[in-house]
Symmetry: C2
Subunit: 370 residues, 2 copies
Amino acid sequence: MAISFELKHVCKQSGARYGILHTPHGSFETPIFMPVGTQATVKTLNPQEIKEVSDGLILANTYHLWLQPGEKIIKKHGGIRGFMKWKGALLTDSGGFQVFSLSELRKISESGVEFRNPKNGDLLFLSPEKAIQIQEDLGADIIMSFDECPPVDASYEYMKDSVLRTARWAKRGKEAHKTDQALFGIVQGGLDKELRKLSVELTTEIDFPGYSIGGLSVGETKDEMAEILAYLNPLMPQDKPRYLMGVGAPDDMINGVINGIDMFDCVYPTRNARHGTAMTTQGSIQIKNKRFEEDLSPLDPGLDSPISKYSKSYLRHLFKADEMLGYRLLTYQNLLFLKQFTAQIRQAIKEDRLLDFKEEFYKSYYHQKD
Amino acid sequence: MAISFELKHVCKQSGARYGILHTPHGSFETPIFMPVGTQATVKTLNPQEIKEVSDGLILANTYHLWLQPGEKIIKKHGGIRGFMKWKGALLTDSGGFQVFSLSELRKISESGVEFRNPKNGDLLFLSPEKAIQIQEDLGADIIMSFDECPPVDASYEYMKDSVLRTARWAKRGKEAHKTDQALFGIVQGGLDKELRKLSVELTTEIDFPGYSIGGLSVGETKDEMAEILAYLNPLMPQDKPRYLMGVGAPDDMINGVINGIDMFDCVYPTRNARHGTAMTTQGSIQIKNKRFEEDLSPLDPGLDSPISKYSKSYLRHLFKADEMLGYRLLTYQNLLFLKQFTAQIRQAIKEDRLLDFKEEFYKSYYHQKD
């Protein structure tokens, strides 16, 4: 198998896990945050910069790359890594989430999902087998089973059917899978504990080298997410990595880690950057705010970063003037911030003081009072 | 005086000039191309990259920086160089060209120009003295006199009045100028040789450390531009640098150099990049073209560039997917191409073979047949 996972330590204060994920393109301490390179580019950054602001493991989206430029062109480059000249490790999602969230005219059947390409209206079909084939062509180290992610307010009956179907799809995907890329199973079930338990049982029965948790961070409250994660924690296999899909806000990450999560991805830091929100060691700030117009101080003295040389005033100017360099510099800042943040989380776990770290962090980042 | 110019060699084959321009922030061989950093950023690039793809002398636009963020904020940063963290040398234009090309409701009087801020409709006033004050605050090494750039089809009477007024404005600007920044005079006169001669006489009489040629590359044909430059060449002072404003297409640059030009600036390479046009040693190509969809070859094997590692297929994908990294990578390519191109021009001048180089270049870049 292409990957392996070592659970090295469990935080005595919080129960959070510290581990090492071994992949063909590097070994990574967990918990880890994976920056999102949707279209074979972490927006605005080159591979050298991605290396600087990540731990070396990033994500790309199967759905987008399947539609543009197509997986066969990427395969000719030796996969996404060769296509974008990324020397680190890589994970792809299955495309399922985007089919359900971005496409219109979905027709779900046992065999798969028929939908229209939003770009040109073409009818397309994605199935468990097709999702595996595309991901094999894309060539990531870690790939995902094709799953359905129903809306958070779907009925119990629909959700149960969906959980059963997703498990059948996972089995079909595993059977179709030919390479030694590590294929993860995905646990669904919305906010219903019984269905979550069922999904864990059915998915772990198939046996995967890692498990993702889908269907969270899709509109539910933070408390609802935390409750499901706490419920899932003891049910999930201890010796396999657990990946909480689509989560990257600092508070959600800490609470995820406390509930046994090892891996995260999210467009949160890069999308924030696009909108002028800088994540700093003193909290997040909206750089376009008028109060930074004449602020000559550096963006984040608490982060050892090449971005530190620029004044807040200059960064604000770049956004006010619609200059892309602003977006690029904040993307770098936000990802580097999350990299430092996850390193601090790992250190706190190893030192059995993650709850203390959480309290300190909420004070410094969210300005939470005692 | 902050700058000085040494004319080192005149090409025996073409009459083109090779020289050295000394500034407080570096000495530069001429002919030189100056990348445009309109809003205190060469679009998409950071200062380290600007250093790599330029000779170390760039341009910023007074008009844009006056309106956003305002020259006083930039002055607080120690000028544009401190604002954008650029350690090289810098030139600013006077703002005149933008007032005449971008603004509506211009009212030109002897004292200056009244116009509306296109962003918010505010009435603004720019005069020779104001243009100097703003440029002193912006703090470039080389600054420009405030001039009028009339449309290429203006009447003889209007153009003559304008030439006389621009000369009076140049004198007022010189009188208002207090710093040791090098203030250039600007020669106008459209396509009328008599008026061009008058403008040279009036402007050189005031005596500046360098002279710009304005009012070209504004809609006239390439032949018309070349004819005016050839006419101006013997009239202009030999011992001062000559800057042809707003010109950066390779053929225009070669023909400018043959007619005695030492300095160029243009948004041509960066704007080309934005639209997907790559300037390469084999000619320019539109990277969005379908024929590059599966083209795994590097963009430009003739240029020693970090961009060379990417395939044309990947670069095309970035543009098709509206990814900014594509714009960024082509900006780097196009500026590096022009840097190499001007180095080749200088070498050819020193070796008295610029006309031979021109012929070779037209074959390789424009695919001109014998």
